[in-house]
């Protein structure tokens, strides 16, 4: 992001406020144009035009406005929107939140440049997703299957191991796909502890060779976070649609992204929506999340796994809520399961994969998959209700079936969900599921057709 030689310089800044710089008298400026600012000491910053009027221009500065002044700062307009240089060399590399190399291995030589905002995919060109991605985690693969081209967020709470789950998924999908699939990982506002964790985990497992990392640290400029997911998605689209690769994009943490957006909005004195977030939060999030999918007649796919922290575990928080409305389901981490020492603490009840049906079944996973999932769900839901009930009235009044369901719940949590770091194939997950269903009398298996019960059910244990 250097200022091109031909760009015009303006030294007409009138106001500086938070991440925003206001200036006068630059008539040729385009809306959304990329800007370079050079302060009096020669330090460069980059920015983008947020608003143009006849006599004032608003620029947001990605690195923050620290050190800028009215007189000494020169503003260069590039005449073009913000772009990212892309090439195959990006695999195995680590970049910062604004796309500069962070690993000391030097700049890449771009093959193409693309605007980072991307363009909406024409709905008639989309291919309906049809293939599942094996993450090796039973409570995802069997219960809420991830499908290529899907966007499936993980909703987590402070202190829950979302990052560990994310890294585990990244590692396992690369391995399970025999390195057919690559991961683009974007970290927004992560701590240096997390940074070390991510970097080391990727390096240790060898996953780094099949990954591109964009990492914006918590002490990096906040506003840069507006760019980070867009850089990651532009990279993903390049690998998917130019190079025909299947790409999994992990974005963590989108709450930090939304907070950066709120910061700019409030500096612009816009009318705030819920909890101070701008009214266009939905649209803005959608322009990121919708950059997932498959194109008809082309190889390659972009799948998204954004991670969003629920402040105070509140699922109705605007960022969580709007994410849920845009994405195709959600995986929810549970504090209760985490306290019981269960890892990964994925709560199947509120989790959902909307595209699951497209990716499973005969020829994909197994014919009984849908019904087994349905049955596990129903029993687990019923069992959790029973647990609540027995907490009040005790287990004395319970019938035989109820006791069996409670035992099922216990085993489901301890064995099925609590799988640790050991990956399971979908066949292994299904086998374990049928083993658990054998706790239950046949007549209670209402959601599975007889033919599957005959084939897989091993009879109610004593």
């Amino acid at each position: 992001m250097n200022a091109p030689l031909y760009a015009k310089a303006y030294q007409t800044i009138t106001d500086i406020k938070g991440p925003l710089v206001f200036l006068r008298g630059a008539p040729e400026v385009r809306y959304g144009e990329r800007v370079t600012l050079v302060d009096s000491l020669g330090n460069k910053k980059s920015g983008q035009v947020l608003e143009v009027g006849e006599d004032s221009i608003v620029v947001q500065v990605f690195e923050g406005s620290d050190g800028l002044d009215k007189k000494g700062t020169a503003v260069f307009f590039s005449g073009d929107v913000v772009k990212l240089g892309l090439s195959e060399e990006m695999l195995g590399r680590v970049f910062d939140g604004s796309g500069k190399p962070r690993d000391g291995l030097g700049e890449i030589f771009p093959e193409v440049e693309r605007p980072i905002t991307g363009s909406p995919l024409n709905p008639v060109c989309r291919q309906q997703p049809f293939q599942y991605i094996e993450t090796g985690i039973s409570s995802i693969d069997l219960m809420n299957t991830l499908v290529k081209g899907q966007k499936l967020p993980i909703f987590t709470g402070a202190g829950l191991p979302a990052n560990r789950v994310a890294v585990q998924i990244a590692r396992q999908v690369i391995r399970q796909s025999q390195e057919e699939l690559i991961v683009v990982f974007a970290g927004m506002g992560i701590t240096s502890r997390e940074y070390n964790y991510f970097y080391q985990e990727f390096q240790k497992s060898g996953a780094l060779a099949n990954a591109v990392l964009f990492l914006n640290l918590a002490d990096d400029p906040t506003i840069e976070r507006i760019l980070t997911p867009r850089l990651a998605l532009t990279t993903a689209e390049y690998f998917a649609f130019d190079r025909g690769r299947d790409v999994l994009v992990i974005l963590t943490d989108m709450l930090n992204y939304a907070n950066a957006l709120r910061e700019i909005s409030s500096a612009r004195e816009e009318i705030p929506g819920r909890r101070g977030y701008p009214g266009y939060l939905y649209t803005d999030l959608a322009t990121n999340y919708e950059r997932a999918g498959i194109i008809q007649g082309q190889k390659g796919s972009v799948t998204q796994l954004p991670i969003v922290t629920m402040p105070n575990d509140d699922i109705t928080h605007p960022v969580i809520d709007l994410t849920g409305y845009i994405t195709e389901g959600q995986i929810i981490l549970s504090r209760d399961l985490d306290r019981k020492g269960i890892y990964p603490p994925i709560d199947p009840l509120p989790s959902l994969s909307r595209l699951m049906n497209l990716g499973i079944g005969p020829g994909k996973t197994r014919a009984d998959h849908r019904q087994v999932q349905d049955q596990l769900y129903a029993l687990y839901a019923q069992g959790k209700e029973l647990e609540k009930l027995t907490a009040i009235i005790g287990s004395a009044g319970l019938g035989e079936t109820e006791r069996r369901i409670l035992r099922f719940v216990e085993r489901f949590e301890r064995e099925f969900i609590n799988q640790g770091e050991q990956p399971r194939t979908i066949q292994e997950s299904l086998a374990l599921a049928w083993d658990l269903l054998s706790e239950i009398p046949r007549a209670e298996l209402r959601r599975v057709e007889d033919k599957y019960i005959d084939q897989y059910w091993r009879g109610a244990r004593p």
């Binding site: 959304g32 006849e54 995919l121 008639v124 309906q128 997703p129 649209t283 109705t316 959600q330 209402r446």
Partner: protein, 580 residues
């Protein structure tokens, strides 16, 4: 022509100067790329324009040109089976122009200009015709005859009309006034198309979905809202209705929702068969797709575009069902534009005119006697999805829609968590249309249909009360009849109200089958009630009939007549001996 200059650009809102004489809601072309926009505010010598495409790269000083007319929908044969964006650009044509990603400034004629349609006149030379009169028809699809109607503002005696193959731009008739009639006509999308008379709806929209047809029906010409938190199945519900309801025409608006969902419709509808005509469902469907990442201002028009097309087919005498998914995204687009205009916000930042805009939209639903001759009756049924933030129904979009719509289908996150779909809460949902539909139900399904409906609802109501007791004291302390009631209620919920939208047979349930299923459950309930005093309930709970009841929704449609009467007969004769 009025030409001005851009003075300010802020997201989808552009301000221009020097457009003296321009009217509110006039369509304009913005900048060198000629982006489509609409005038939404005039303030001194400045006008504000909402632009239906991304404004990145625009500059102050670029020209803004008035088109001298409001935003018009193009209506005529060829709408069916087409997918448009919010400003009626055909997305398939746009793909051929700009590739897989949408580029700005693309344009395409909504109706194919070169395709020839075979026009058959029904009016003759010498006939006097006026607005709304049918002069002929075109076979648009094997099932749909597209009536060619006289547009507004034209009246006179026909001096020339002939059968033949025409494009939508070629005149098919001429009047003595010199005016010509075409198969294509234009209509300003924000103005409701008039009718001779609005009449009370009296026929149900049969959806094949038990919870709607039995519990909360909506008539043809009625309106319903489907609010629900994310993951509760709004879209699956909307799509099930679009697939299975017995409307002649379906207009499906994907307003600010997911791209993959539109793809789902595009993939499935051409494959699925309309049960009544045997034609692919796509051939009765018009799709309007403005996904969440497409320009926000066009989201606002997509709703009006959809309803204008719906009214146009209504005017031919068809029953049209319109699904808008989601009206909340439309309201948010209003809010975003309003914010950019720096208007004084109302509740939750929405503009103060939100309520009136919602009301105007839902009021375009209805059953009408169409203008002109011959006599035609048509209807537009509006089913709007609402996405309340945090699933909180007290928010402005839900509340304002609730005041207008006649049926409320409240989706419930807890039902969705327990995988009870459609996750419509039977205790909080309602339909205000039962009175007007009563006659139809009695005539077509017998007097006991509504009585059985009431019984089912009473059982579920009672269950809700009993559950509270169970929470406190446990199930064992209930009386025997109450235990029976709880299990019957579970059967109603699990085996009647739950419906699998993805199951080959269960996805669509004919009314007759719905009737039999209710009858079977209630017959069994009565038989058990008879026995419960003499046989311990735990014995009754083990009867194999419970499982049979749970499988009856999978009885194939062609076996309904042979299976159910026998099954119900068996249930009614349940005896003490059978239990032992």
């Amino acid at each position: 022509m009025i030409v001005g200059r851009i003075t300010r650009i802020s997201g989808p809102v552009v301000t221009a100067r020097g457009m003296e004489g321009i009217k509110i809601r006039d369509m304009v072309r913005v900048g060198e790329l000629g982006l489509v926009g609409e005038v939404i505010e005039v303030k001194g010598d400045l006008v504000s324009i909402q632009v239906y495409e991304e404004t990145d790269g625009l500059r102050v000083g670029e020209p803004v040109q008035s088109e001298g007319r409001p935003f018009l929908a193009e209506l005529g044969p060829g709408l069916l089976g087409t997918i448009y964006d919010g400003i009626q650009r055909p997305l398939e044509v746009i793909r051929d122009q700009t590739g897989v990603f949408l580029a700005r400034g693309a344009s395409g004629d909504p109706l194919n200009r070169s395709k020839r349609w075979h026009f058959v006149p029904t009016a003759q030379i010498g006939d006097h015709v006026a607005y709304g009169d049918v002069v002929g028809w075109v076979q648009e699809t094997p099932a749909i005859t597209h009536k060619i109607m006289v547009p507004e503002g034209i009246r006179g005696r026909i001096v020339a009309i002939a059968e033949g193959d025409y494009t939508v731009d070629e005149p098919i008739a001429e009047l003595d006034t010199g005016q010509k009639l075409y198969m294509k006509q234009l209509w300003p999308i924000r103005r409701p198309r008039p009718s001779a008379q609005k009449i009370a709806p009296a026929l149900p929209l049969i959806t094949g979905q038990r919870i709607f047809d039995v519990f909360f029906p909506v008539p043809k010409g009625g309106s319903a809202i489907v609010p629900g938190p994310f993951g509760s199945g709004k879209t699956v519900t909307q799509q099930a209705l679009a697939k299975w309801s017995d409307a002649d025409i379906v207009v499906y608006i994907g307003c600010g929702e997911r791209g993959n969902e539109m793809t789902e419709v595009l993939t499935e509808f051409p494959r699925l068969e309309d049960p009544r005509t045997g034609q692919p469902l796509m051939r009765r469907t018009v799709l309007i797709a403005n996904t969440s990442n497409m320009p926000v201002a066009a989201r606002e028009t997509s709703i009006y575009m959809g309803i204008t097309i719906a009214e146009y087919y209504r005017d031919m005498g068809y029953d049209v069902a319109l699904m808008a998914d989601s009206t909340s995204r439309w309201a948010e687009a209003l809010r975003e534009i309003s914010g950019r205009l720096e208007e004084m916000p109302g509740e939750e930042g929405y503009p103060p005119y939100l309520a009136s805009r919602i009301a105007e939209f839902y009021e375009r639903a209805g059953r009408v006697i169409c203008l002109g001759s011959p006599h035609r009756e048509g209807s537009v049924t509006v089913i709007g999805a609402v996405s309340p933030p945090g699933g909180d129904f007290s928010e402005p979009v839900t509340q304002n829609s609730l005041r207008i719509a006649g049926a409320f289908w409240g989706l419930d996150a807890r039902l969705a968590y327990s995988r009870h779909f459609p996750a419509i809460n039977w205790l909080t949902s309602y339909s205000l249309y039962l009175d007007v539909l009563q006659d139809w139900y009695i005539r077509h399904l017998g007097a006991d249909f509504l009585a059985m409906r009431r019984e089912l609802l009473e059982i579920l109501q009672k269950e809700d009360e009993l559950k509270k007791i169970v929470q406190l004291v446990g199930r064992e302390s209930l009386s025997e009849p109450d235990k029976l009631l709880l299990d019957i209620a579970r059967t109603i919920r699990d085996d009647f109200l739950r419906q699998n939208a993805f199951h080959e047979i269960d996805a669509f349930c004919p009314l007759k089958k719905q009737y039999y299923m209710m009858q079977a459950i209630l017959t069994f309930y009565k038989a058990c009630q008879r026995l419960v005093g003499t046989v311990p309930y735990d014995e009754l709970a083990k009867l194999p009939e419970w499982e049979q009841l749970s499988k009856m929704r999978y009885v194939p449609n062609e076996q309904i007549g042979s299976f159910f009467p026998k099954f119900i007969q068996e249930l009614s004769t349940l005896s003490k001996e059978a239990v032992r």
